[in-house]
Symmetry: C2
Subunit: 242 residues, 2 copies
């Protein structure tokens, strides 16, 4: 199985994503936040690119979440901190989320045959779902403002490791050069992920803004057993995704 | 000292390179070949972007080297294999070289305050020369056809490690996120560089084309003690560069 890791949304060409399984990663924090909300019973999430689109979808019982430049959007119910999306807040509710990079990556992958939502939290579940399908896979790192972000690269490396570990011995995982380098980088820091995430650009920025606990929450590996897909514009942790 | 690693020529913006020390890397094979020629007594090397420019500089005693798509250019004295540039062939001679990616990276860095020619062969010498200067540094990976190449990334990681090792304790090396990931990747594979280089896209391609020994030659670490700079369009391993 060919697996291509792409360094940021800006680097993704539509033809590289078409007809493939695309795992979208935004470890700090969009995809980690979505997965946390789903784990806490959120019914479904609609990712949208703009604040206006989010507000248009606002109706009774629908909650709005998201950020611009790490900050909560005025009038929204939540920012982009996974710790806000507690069971008491989101259980049974529908969410609409817009973020600077993560939701843009999901939109960019629109022509993929399947889009999975991935982070360190559910890397193994993503790999298991990819292994169970045929065809090629792309791991799309959202990055930050069109630049590569370390935490997304390390997550790509972890998913690559999980793919290698879970692929039947009759098949081989062939990574592109960026994927190989992220696999090696992940192996080097796998025993010190929290401090590594705190030391990268986004980790430092979030710590400065008071979100150090978010970084530590998002640095946990394989704690969620589901890999949700985007279906009809919505993300749900339905039984089919487990 | 801020050190920015850039993944390929395509990703380099002129403003990121201006007024900085830029180390240009094309491990397989342009910069490794240039360094090998200089180590074997070549007087100076003029890197040019096009075959026509190279031919215009051809005169008595000047040798032409280079490649397009890994193959020697018709009418040239050498291809891009470092093993061709032996002492008996190049000692005391001037060379003009054009390659697909490496010479393009050198041209792109034209507005840097200093351009150094780097590879695994002379990574420590590059780091020592950067440490002895003030200001910021950029490690520009040439990549291959605008895509990231693993061997260049690992070399960037090695140079980052050497910078950390040689920086006075009063100063700190601050790497961008790509630089951090390459540092970690290098640390993971540092004890198996030859097989790692043989396993990446360019390593496989060169092996298929009969250049396996070139890959092994270029995978040697810190065997050359000089970090030549581009001065007045030429590269020379003069005493000032040692």
């Amino acid at each position: 199985m060919n697996v291509q890791v792409i360094s940021s949304v800006n680097e993704a060409r539509t033809e590289d994503l078409q007809h493939k399984t695309v795992i979208v990663i935004d470890v700090l924090r969009a995809t980690s936040t979505m997965l946390t909300a789903l784990a806490n019973g959120c019914r479904d999430i609609t990712p949208v690119e703009t604040v206006i689109q989010a507000k248009q979808l606002q109706e009774n019982g629908v909650l709005l979440g998201g950020e611009r430049n790490c900050k909560k959007i005025p009038g929204f119910d939540f920012g982009n901190s996974p710790l806000e999306y507690t069971e008491s807040e989101v259980n049974g509710k529908s969410l609409v989320i817009t973020t600077t990079n993560g939701t843009r990556a999901i939109q960019k992958a629109g022509k993929a045959s399947r889009i999975l939502i991935g982070s360190l939290l559910n890397a193994r579940a993503c790999a298991e779902r990819v292994v169970s399908t045929c065809g090629e896979a792309v791991i799309l790192c959202s990055g930050t403002n069109d630049a590569f972000a370390l935490e997304d690269g390390l997550c790509a490396g972890l998913i690559a490791q999980e793919l290698i570990d879970h692929m039947p011995s009759s098949k081989q995982v062939t990574l592109n050069d960026l994927g190989l380098s992220m696999l090696y980088a992940y192996r080097d820091v796998s025993d010190r992920l929290p401090e590594t995430l705190l030391s990268c650009v986004n980790g430092k920025r979030l710590t400065r803004l008071g979100f150090r606990d978010d970084v530590l929450h998002c640095a946990r590996v394989n704690v969620l057993p589901f890999a949700p897909a985007v279906q009809d514009g919505k993300i749900a942790a339905s039984a089919a995704c487990l």
